[in-house]
Each structure stands twice: as structure tokens, then as C-alpha cells.
């Protein structure tokens, strides 16, 4: 856990949230935990912006929210992907992969083309 958190690139947060929700419905705090854990602490999501993003995605119809009870019986808002959100995740993942491959290629090149 000694890694320094890196700033999220603009537009990255959405796809990370979508991915976290693809494992099933969960509340905001769980999403934040998941992102932190699965990036091994590299991504420090400022929790405030997480909620802004969740609400924005709710507005766009990518996620649906429902009030439920947490494992400790507290009222919590659970988010879950809609078909539209799943489609969005697919698109974003594809374009991310293309993007990262291209950037990696460029940055790891050893000879000038």
C-alpha cells in the first residue's frame, strides 16, 4: 500500500464506477472501496466526486438506484447497471483498451519511426 495515489484522468471515473457495478448492485461506499481495492490504492477517488458521478449517471440512465438495507441493517442507496449502462461500459472499455494500447506503444517505442 505504499503506492502514491495518481490523479484520475478526466472521464476515467465513470468507466471505473460502471465496471465496479458490473459485479452487481452495491451502494456508493462499496463502489469507492472496490475502486480503491482493485486499483491497489493507485486510484484515490475523492468520495464527493463519486457521488456526483453516480447521480450524473443516474440522470443519464446508465444506473438505477434503489433504497435498501446494508449488511448491518442501515438504510443505503444501492446502484445497479441498466442495459444502457452495460452497453456504455462495453463501449468505454473498448475505447479505453484501444487508447491505452496506443499510448503504451508510443511511450515504449525504442526507435524513432
Amino acid at each position: 500500500m505504499a503506492r502514491t495515489p495518481i490523479d484520475l484522468l478526466q472521464g476515467t471515473l465513470d468507466v471505473l464506477i460502471l465496471k465496479s457495478l458490473s459485479w452487481g448492485p452495491r451502494h456508493g461506499h462499496a463502489v469507492a472501496r472496490l475502486i480503491r481495492a482493485s486499483s491497489e490504492g493507485a486510484f484515490e477517488v475523492l468520495d464527493g466526486s463519486l457521488y456526483a458521478a453516480l447521480h450524473r449517471m443516474e440522470e443519464r440512465g446508465w444506473v438505477e438506484a434503489e433504497w435498501g438495507l446494508s449488511d448491518k441493517g442501515k438504510r443505503a442507496k444501492f446502484y445497479q447497471l441498466t442495459p444502457l449502462g452495460r452497453q456504455q461500459l462495453k463501449n468505454e472499455t473498448a475505447s479505453w483498451q484501444r487508447y491505452s494500447v496506443a499510448v503504451a506503444k508510443l511511450l515504449t517505442a525504442t526507435v524513432q519511426p
Binding site: 451502494h27 456508493g28 461506499h29 469507492a32 475523492l46 468520495d47 464527493g48 466526486s49 457521488y51 456526483a52 458521478a53 447521480h55 450524473r56 443516474e58 440522470e59 433504497w67 446494508s70 442501515k74 438504510r75 443505503a76 442507496k77
Partner: protein
């Protein structure tokens, strides 16, 4: 696209209504998150408080998140506006004095503008009521040159010109001829004078109006030459004289010399294209002309009496139409010159037509009123600017006082943009309330303006949609101007410093405020100089000796109304009027006359032995009077004598000359006994028997005007007997008795009209007085606003420096030194404003020149006085609070905090 828009709107509206519930859910959701986060920290063994703190820190600013979340939910725009509004209103309620001050200041500024806009709009921008398609409707003017080659523009034409233009042009759909005259209406003792518009049938087609009753007349009733004796009544006249009854159609009404049948009533407020208010009646122009001049009038070249309107075909450009008009004028004038070869050569006359807008004030015959009104609107705008500067300044001071509050909110995560928006909302709310107050002020003050500027008859609602729109614009500009500077200044600087510092510390003197102060002082100086110049100008007009008294003089004229008395009858009628008038109690003197100052003048040829072409030297105005002429008018005889009983018909002809005429014709000589031939160079010598004080008969400024006076008895009787009567006491009281007595003498249909001389003379002084009243009113307003502004700004600064002053005094600085320090810093700023203002006024002076009477626009006295007043205000504004500050115990000053 549209779908998205709808769903967007639905979302926002729903969000707005579900606001409270959503708000609650947001709270629950966030607190759940924080709690989970805190639990996680507590699991690692941290104390509960520390855990909560860490959770909060990781979260970022709670307030900001709420805003972000709200933004995401889409309610932010409407909702936060409502929130800003609520917040602004609460803040304003909490500071009633501040709010009142701002609202009043803005109200005065906006009100002044709304009122002036109403006037200028009507004078310059708004087409006459009901005018169809103003773009293609024109008033016809004709440019030309006088015989001595001076350019002139005419808008009165002979009827034949109207016929010619209709016949020879191709660019116009129609022409209309009209003229508004004061004519006698009714019969016998009921006879009264009123404005009557003589108009061609086509005149009504220029307007999109329907008669309130009956119908307008058509082309058949306006046929050349005689037309039909029909009349359409004006709405007001119908109400006043006939009580608005509808059974008047078909009734007869005597107008001037004819009897007309009433066929309709014009709609309420219908003025037409005239500039003399709502006419009492409209009659076919041909019917009037035929009755007045007989069947030969369409051929007359010399009777130039009516104005013309033209409706351009929409597909023809204005330039092309102007060309067409010019060639038609030339063709028409060719005939005129052929019939009157001694009028000069057509080529020398420089004739050219001009299609001008319908509004006189926008054409070549624009009066001083329009110019003055535009100036005054500019002045009103400056007043508003000063008011804005005041308010912006108050905001700045307040923003400064609230900077800890702002810093706190910024620290809590409110964005700067949001804070600025809140400040703007506040200024908008104030500007809106100010605008409402302004409209009330405008409505209330505009009645006075209107009476001064527009014809009383033309008045309608003052606050109409156009004025409202203008006011709304003024409000927006005001809100921006007052709110933008404080909004830009919010949260500048180091938050920590601000939060830690006391209320009286920190970098409190922003650069904006001194600039505002200079700006305000500059504008005030310009306005006050303008006001000062106009005041002096008016006092010149008021104190200007016209060469006769106006107030105690009544003017009575007998109108023969078609009755043609012989010359002997005329003389005896005139004598009888004079004798009757003198017998009425309260009448001091009475005299015959043929001219009325500023109303009607006569000119005549003049030959003086030893001087070539006298008439080239100027305009020699010819007047006649009976022996009491000069006594009646109160004109002093400077040399020699006035005429008396000796100067009968057949006795040696004599004349009295005006002072300046004597000086102009016989400089350095005695004018008495000089010989003047009047009317023809073969006329017998008239001997100068006296020199009278100079009389201003046509204009206040005309330098080339001279006057001379001949005994009535030695001159042919005028066609209409006219007399001046000098009364003691209130002249109004004597009008009716005089009219009644004189009316008894009238033969046949003739009638008598009596008016105070002031009614005829005052209109020519109106524009002078008007400009002054307005400039003084606005100048006073500006001074008041500027004084308040300067005072509050300087005084506030001083209060802010109380602590610093306390330190200085504690360190041994003397009270007078501290006072000097404060006064000089205030004076420096105001002084800069004064210098700028004076320079600006000097630069603008050239445009003022024409509006002032015998007053240079660069009068050093006025400039000096204005500069003095402003500096004095600055000193007072600095000294009073400074004195208070120096009296504070240094100890308590040092401890002073928030």
C-alpha cells in the same frame, strides 16, 4: 433532439417538485457513506472523533458535493436561483437602511431614465399613432434657395404642387395633403376657435384606424375643386361638445366660413400627422380651400399653405423615390417659373425633394425640443451611472465587511462562481425593486415633463410597453454594473488570512473603489457644469428685456369669417373696438396693431436717402399703432416722442424707429428728423420723430432684425382689426368681459378672439426654459447622489481606518495631522475627478453652444463654482467621520475587532 430537450425539461421540473425529498435522500446517502468510512477507520483503532474527521476529509467539502450532486440532478439552475433569491431577500431584509438607500438611489436613476425615454421615444422614435408601415410613409420636404441664395427647406406647398406630384411621379402609391389650422367653430356667441385638420381623403389611408362612429370621407367628397362640406369630428371634441352622443351624424356644424355635415368621429387619440395635438375636426381639404380661396385655388402658385405625405411603393428604394420626387418638383416649378418669370431662374433655385420620416423631429425641420430632449436623455443616463457607481460602491463596502462570511463559505466548499452569482442575484433583486420604484417616479414625474415637452393633448399612458421594455433593460444594465465589480472581487486573496484577521484588517482598500470615486466625481462635475450653464442661460432669457411687457397685455382680434367690410367700415370697427375696450374697468390702455411679437410680422420695402438697398442690411419689421401703442406695451421712448393725436391721416407722415435700426442706418448721427420712404422709393418722406427701445419681435437671437413703427391712421387699415389692451390686475379675469363687449360690435358672422399676449410669446421661450428645468432637476439629482456617494465612500474608508488612526494617535501623531492625512487623501481622488470632469466639459462644450442663450459654454465662474462645491463635499465627507475617529480612545481602537 427535441425529445432530449423534453426529457431534460421533465427531469428538471420533476426534480424541482421532488426537491425536498431528494434533498433528504441525499443527506441520508452521504451520512451513510461517512459513517461507513468512519467505521473503517475505527476498525484500525482510531478514536471515533478522529475517524469521523478522516472520513470527512477524504470526502472533500460536504457542501460542495451537495452542490455537485444537485447539479447532476439537474435542479441546480432553477433551484439555486430560487435559493439565491431567498438568500438575497433575507440579506436585504436584515439591512433595511442599506436596502432603502439602494432602492431609492436606483429608483431615482431608473425613474429619470424611464420618464425621459418616454419623451424622447415619442419625439424621435415612435411613429404617429396608427401609422401603417412607417418604413414607406414619408413627409415631403423641398430644398431650395432664397433669392439671395441662402438655402432653405420648405414643407408648405401650393395645392397645384400636390396635383403635379401625383400626376408626374411613378414611385408612390399615394400622396396626402393636409394642414392644421385654428378655425372658428359654431355660431353666434357660441363661436370658439379650435384646431381643425384640413386633409385629403387619402390622408386616412396612411393610418390603420377605424372611425369611432360613422365613417371617414372618401375621394368623392374630396374632389377638386369644391369637395363636399362634410366633417369628421375629433374624439375629444365630440366628447366635450356633444357629450359623446351617437345621434349627431347628419347634424350641421359651422366651421370657418362654411357649414359642414357631421359624418363620423375619429377614434380616440387619433392625431394624424400633425404636430399640434388631437384636432377638433377633420374636413376635406378641397372643401376648405374652395371656401377660402374660391374655385381658382388649384391653379395658384403663391398660396403655399399645406403639407404633404407620400406613401412610397415598397419595391422602390428611398433614393430612387427621392430622385423621382425631385424631377417631379422640377417639372412643376418649371411651369411656375414660366408663369412668374421674375421669381428667378429655375437653375438657381437648387430645387430638390426629400422624403423624410413622418416625425417632424427627425426631419430637416427638427425643433430645439428634440435636440434638448436627446441631451436630457443623455443626462438622465449619466444620473443613472452615478447612481450605479453609488450602489456598486455600497456593495463593495458591504462585500468587504462580509469577506469573512465569504471566506467561510468558500472554505466550506461553495464555489466562487456560486458566490459571485449570489452577489449578482442580490444586485438584480435590488435593481428590480429600484426599477419598480423608478416606474412609479416616472409615472408621477412624467406628467410635468410631458406638459413641458409634448403637446398636452398628445398625452396618453406614460408607462407603456416600450417604456417598460426600456426600463427592464435599464434594470439589467444597472444590476450588471452594480453587481459585477463586487462579484469579481469575491474571495480574492488568501482565505486563511481573511479568516484569521479581524474585521478591520487585511488588504481592505481595493483598487475598484477609488476608481469609482473618481468616476463619480467626474460625471457629477460634467452634469453640474451643464446645469450651471443652463441656469445662467435661463436667467439671461428671463432677465432679457424683450423691449415690451408681456404679462399685463391681452390681444384681441376680430375675425370677419368671410364678411368683407369696406375700408371705411374696417376703420370705424377698429375705432369702436378701441373705445369699447378702454371703457372696460381694469383696462389701462389700448392700441391698434397689425403685428404680434413671435406670432405675426409684416415686412416692407424701405428706402433711405444716402443708403443703398437698405433691405439688404436685414429684416425691417413694420408695425403700426395708435397713439397709446408704446404705453400699452410698456416700451420706452428713448429719444423724441411717440406718435399722438397730431399724426392723423393726411398730416405729415412720421415714424418711430427702434434703437438698433437708428444705430444701423445712421451710426453716430441723430436719427430724429431723418427721412425714410416706406413701401416704395417714390413714397413721400416719413420723418423720424422718435427712437424706441429695441423690441424683440421674431426671435431672441436674430441679429439682422430691426423694427419701426408707423401711426395706424397713416397706413391702410389691416383686413382684420387687432388691438392690444393693457390691464391692471389679473389679465385672465378680463378676457371674457372684453370678448363679450367686443363681440357686440361684430357685424354678421364675424367673431372676436381674446388671448393673453403671453400665450403667443411664451412658446418661443419654452425650449429655453425646458432645457433649463431639466438640466437643473437632473443636475440637482446628480449632485445629491454624488454627495451621498462621496460621503459614504470617504466616510466608510475612514471608519475602516479607525484602528490605524488610533495607532497613529497612540504613537503621538497630532489630531490635526491625522485629519490632514484623511482629508488630503479624499481630496486627491475627488480632485482627480474634478479635473477630468472639467476637461470633459470643456471638450463637450461645443455641442452645448446652440442650446444656450447669451452664455458661453466655457464660463470660468460656473466651472469654478462646481469644482468648489465638489471639493467642499469631499472635505465635509472626510472631516466628519475623521473627527469622530480621532475622538476614540486609542486603547479601544487598538482592541477593535469584528
Amino acid at each position: 433532439m427535441l425529445n432530449r430537450l423534453f426529457s431534460e425539461i421533465r427531469f428538471r421540473v420533476r426534480a424541482l417538485f421532488r426537491r425536498d425529498r431528494l434533498e433528504q435522500e441525499l443527506d441520508t446517502e452521504l451520512s451513510f457513506h461517512l459513517q461507513k468510512e468512519a467505521e473503517k477507520h475505527m476498525a484500525t483503532g482510531v478514536s471515533p472523533e478522529e475517524a469521523r474527521r478522516r472520513a470527512r476529509a477524504a470526502f472533500g467539502a460536504v457542501q460542495g458535493t451537495k452542490d455537485d450532486a444537485r447539479d447532476a440532478r439537474g435542479i441546480s439552475l432553477i433551484d439555486s436561483l430560487a435559493q439565491d433569491l431567498k438568500y438575497a431577500l433575507r440579506g436585504l431584509r436584515k439591512r433595511p437602511a442599506f436596502t432603502m438607500g439602494v432602492v431609492l438611489t436606483l429608483g431615482l436613476g431608473i425613474g429619470a431614465n424611464a420618464a425621459m425615454f418616454g419623451i424622447v421615444d415619442r419625439l424621435l422614435f415612435r411613429p404617429p399613432l396608427g401609422l401603417k408601415d412607417p418604413e414607406t410613409a414619408h413627409r415631403v420636404f423641398q430644398h431650395g434657395r432664397t433669392q439671395d441664395r441662402r438655402p432653405r427647406v420648405l414643407r408648405n406647398f401650393a395645392f397645384r404642387r400636390y396635383l403635379d406630384l401625383q400626376r408626374t411621379t411613378r414611385s408612390f402609391e399615394s400622396f396626402a395633403a393636409f394642414q392644421t389650422r385654428t378655425l372658428a367653430l359654431g355660431e353666434g356667441s357660441d363661436t370658439h376657435e379650435a384646431k381643425v385638420t384640413l386633409a385629403s381623403a387619402s390622408y386616412f389611408q396612411f393610418f390603420d384606424v377605424r372611425p369611432a362612429l360613422g365613417r371617414f370621407y372618401g375621394p368623392a367628397e374630396d374632389s377638386v375643386p369644391a369637395g363636399s362640406p362634410v366633417v369628421v369630428l375629433g374624439h375629444d371634441y365630440w366628447q366635450a361638445r356633444y357629450g359623446g352622443r351617437s345621434d349627431i351624424i347628419g347634424q350641421q356644424l359651422r366651421i370657418d366660413r362654411g357649414t359642414f355635415t357631421i359624418i363620423g368621429v375619429a377614434p380616440n387619440g387619433f392625431v394624424g400627422a400633425g404636430d399640434q395635438g388631437v384636432p377638433a375636426a377633420f374636413v376635406p381639404i378641397t372643401a376648405y380651400a374652395h371656401a377660402a380661396r374660391g374655385p381658382g385655388y388649384p391653379a395658384l402658385h403663391t398660396w403655399t399653405w399645406m403639407e404633404m405625405l407620400a406613401r412610397r411603393k415598397p419595391e422602390i428604394s428611398e433614393a430612387a423615390a427621392n430622385q423621382d420626387l425631385t424631377s417631379a418638383f422640377l417639372a412643376s416649378w418649371r411651369e411656375t417659373i414660366a408663369a412668374n418669370p421674375n421669381w428667378g431662374k429655375l437653375e438657381d433655385m437648387g430645387i430638390r425633394g426629400e422624403l423624410a420620416p413622418m416625425l417632424l423631429a427627425r426631419g430637416p425641420h427638427a425643433g430645439r425640443d428634440a435636440k434638448v430632449a436627446t441631451w436630457v436623455l443623455g443626462v438622465a443616463a449619466i444620473v443613472l451611472l452615478i447612481a450605479c457607481a453609488n450602489v456598486a460602491n455600497l456593495f463593495l463596502s458591504r462585500a468587504f465587511a462580509r469577506r469573512r462570511e465569504f471566506a467561510m463559505r468558500l472554505a466550506l466548499g461553495v464555489t466562487r462562481a456560486r458566490l459571485a452569482r449570489q452577489l449578482l442575484t442580490e444586485s438584480l433583486v435590488l435593481a428590480l425593486i429600484g426599477g419598480a420604484v423608478g416606474l412609479v417616479i416616472a409615472q408621477w414625474g412624467a406628467a410635468a415633463l410631458r406638459a413641458a415637452f409634448l403637446d398636452a393633448a398628445a398625452s396618453a399612458v406614460i408607462v407603456d410597453p416600450r417604456t417598460l421594455l426600456f426600463t427592464a433593460l435599464a434594470v439589467m444594465v444597472t444590476a450588471l454594473l452594480t453587481g459585477i465589480v463586487p462579484a469579481l472581487q469575491t474571495g480574492r486573496g488568501n482565505l486563511n488570512l481573511t479568516l484569521k484577521g479581524g474585521a478591520n484588517e487585511g488588504p481592505h482598500r481595493s483598487r475598484a473603489r477609488p476608481l469609482l470615486l473618481v468616476f463619480q466625481a467626474t460625471l457629477s462635475v460634467v452634469l453640474l457644469i451643464g446645469a450651471g450653464l443652463f441656469v445662467r442661460s435661463l436667467s439671461h432669457v428671463k432677465n432679457y428685456r424683450l423691449g415690451y411687457d408681456v404679462a399685463p397685455v391681452l390681444y384681441a382680434s376680430a375675425n370677419p369669417r368671410g364678411y368683407r367690410p369696406s375700408e371705411a367700415e374696417q376703420r370705424s370697427l377698429a375705432e369702436a373696438m378701441l373705445e369699447t375696450a378702454k371703457r372696460i374697468p381694469g383696462v389701462q390702455y389700448a392700441t391698434l396693431t397689425i403685428s404680434v411679437p413671435f406670432w405675426s410680422n409684416e415686412g416692407t420695402g424701405l428706402w433711405v436717402p444716402g443708403i443703398d438697398s437698405v433691405t439688404r442690411r436685414g429684416n425691417f419689421l413694420f408695425n403700426t399703432g395708435s397713439p397709446d401703442y408704446f404705453k400699452t406695451l410698456g416700451t420706452r421712448i428713448l429719444k423724441g416722442r411717440a406718435f399722438d393725436e397730431r399724426d392723423r391721416a393726411g398730416a405729415a407722415p412720421v415714424l418711430v424707429v427702434g434703437e438698433r435700426m437708428a444705430e444701423a442706418l445712421w451710426p453716430g448721427q441723430d436719427a430724429l428728423s431723418k427721412c425714410v420712404r416706406i413701401g416704395a422709393d417714390t413714397a413721400p418722406c416719413s420723418q423720424v420723430i422718435g427712437v424706441a427701445e429695441e423690441m424683440r419681435l421674431r426671435s431672441l437671437t436674430g441679429e439682422r432684425e430691426y423694427s419701426f413703427f408707423v401711426p395706424s391712421a397713416q397706413h391702410t387699415a389691416p383686413p382684420v382689426p387687432e388691438i392690444f389692451v393693457r390691464v391692471t390686475g389679473d389679465p385672465e379675469r378680463l378676457i371674457e368681459p372684453l370678448r363679450r363687449e367686443l363681440q357686440k360690435l361684430m357685424p354678421g358672422p364675424a367673431y372676436v378672439n381674446v388671448v393673453p399676449l403671453s400665450e403667443l410669446v411664451d412658446p418661443s421661450l419654452k425650449a429655453w426654459k425646458f432645457g433649463t428645468t431639466m438640466f437643473v432637476a437632473f443636475g440637482g439629482l446628480a449632485l445629491l447622489l454624488a454627495a451621498i456617494g462621496l460621503y459614504s465612500m470617504i466616510a466608510y474608508d475612514v471608519t475602516q481606518r479607525t484602528r490605524e488612526l488610533g495607532v497613529r494617535i497612540a504613537l503621538g501623531s497630532s489630531v490635526s495631522r491625522v485629519l490632514g492625512l484623511i482629508v488630503s487623501s479624499g481630496l486627491r481622488l475627488v480632485g482627480a475627478g474634478v479635473v477630468l470632469g472639467v476637461l470633459l466639459a470643456l471638450w463637450g462644450a461645443k455641442w452645448m453652444e446652440g442650446l444656450l442663450f447669451q452664455q458661453t459654454p466655457r464660463d470660468p465662474v460656473i466651472y469654478g463654482v462646481v469644482a468648489g462645491i465638489l471639493l467642499l463635499v469631499a472635505v465635509v465627507a472626510a472631516v466628519l467621520p475623521a473627527l469622530r475617529a480621532t475622538r476614540i480612545d486609542p486603547n479601544s481602537a487598538l482592541r477593535l475587532d469584528g
